[in-house]
Symmetry: none
Subunit: 184 residues, 2 copies
DNA sequence: CTAGAATCGGAATGACTGTTCCGCTTGGAT
DNA sequence: ATCCAAGCGGAACAGTCATTCCGATTCTAG
């Protein structure tokens, strides 16, 4: 690979991340090319399609998520590990919008699969459920929906650490077990 | 107004709501027209622009939501009323955010004349807490944070009715009480 | 320095989009 | 039954988009 090609690849990725964060997934290739200071053809040499470009960015973010999960995978307290992972993702998402998009493609959008992330979260969930720390009737779909919900709100409203703690406390209580039937 | 025109207007509104909920902002007028079983020209006779069509749906939805809030304000079961209204708002938001964004980008203020949803849900919360259906240590701040989270996720991922029901079931259990000291 | 291959920019392509327009159809008052 | 304006469908227009393509440029091996 020629030196200028490698340099342009990096510039394109950097520009794409900026434009993606600002304009969402409707960002146009022309705009990314303009910000990177290259022609659109240059982008297509490295990334055959728009989805491929986004996938390259998302894959990087997902890798970092997986590392975070792996750290907690062998923790002694399965319940605490699960809830801490949840909390750390939400806290991090306040800073990184891209992470939210990564979660979207990993969990809810069944289109682009990310088995490593799903697997990592799934393992934490299953361990926590076996330990009795999380109710058994919660699946990956519901979990990712709620995790994504917290991330989106935290990012959108700039949740303070305090608000995050109180909001997640309520959510975590719901995740622990179904409310026993006690009227009302 | 001729009878067939009125009938087509209703069919267009119904179809537009379905398509917008499914495809988001990228929904095309052709597709709405196809689902409604009319030509695109028929839509433009009633709604001069795409934004006008969105505005009509927003107005229609807000009216229905305001009616429901008034209805639930005096319901016998304060807890059920609270949770039902919460659910309705989340369901409604899957459509509303899309529309509000579209209207905002067009410079139209969609919030003018909107019902005071914040005040409505505040009243419902207080009543539900007095009835013991919602834990007492949840304030409007936490409630709105969680409500916003659910709405944002529902918008962002186009939650199906089924997913919304299951995700909110967990959240509602968390809202009912702190983790029971005595398990079931 | 030179050749020639790798890489470039950006015009061209084709498939969309919202919107306009017009000849044909049809409701409903007479 | 007749009439005609209100209403209709969908082709046509102008713009966008992602993607392809190719002549011009630039890097680098020899």
């Amino acid at each position: 690979m020629r030196a200028d090609a490698r340099r342009n690849r990096a510039r394109v990725l950097e520009a794409a991340e900026v434009v993606l964060a600002r304009d969402g997934l409707d960002a146009s290739m022309r705009e990314i090319a303009a910000l990177a200071g290259v022609g659109v053809g240059t982008i297509y040499r490295q990334f055959p399609t728009k989805e491929a470009l986004y996938a390259a960015i998302v894959a990087d973010r997902q890798e970092r998520l997986a590392e975070m999960a792996a750290e907690l995978a062998g923790a002694a307290d399965a319940g605490a590990a699960f809830f801490e992972f949840f909390d750390r993702i939400v806290a991090y998402s306040t800073v990184k919008k891209i992470l939210v998009d990564a979660l979207a493609s990993a969990g809810i959008d069944a289109k682009a699969g990310a088995p490593d992330i799903r697997g990592a979260i799934g393992a934490l969930l299953e361990r926590a459920q076996r330990a009795g720390a999380v109710r058994a009737d919660v699946g990956m779909t519901e979990l990712l929906a709620l995790l994504s919900a917290a991330c989106l709100a935290a990012q959108h409203h700039n949740w303070s650490d305090d608000l995050r703690a109180r909001a997640l406390a309520v959510l975590f209580d719901g995740l622990r077990r179904a409310t026993p039937a006690t009227g009302a």
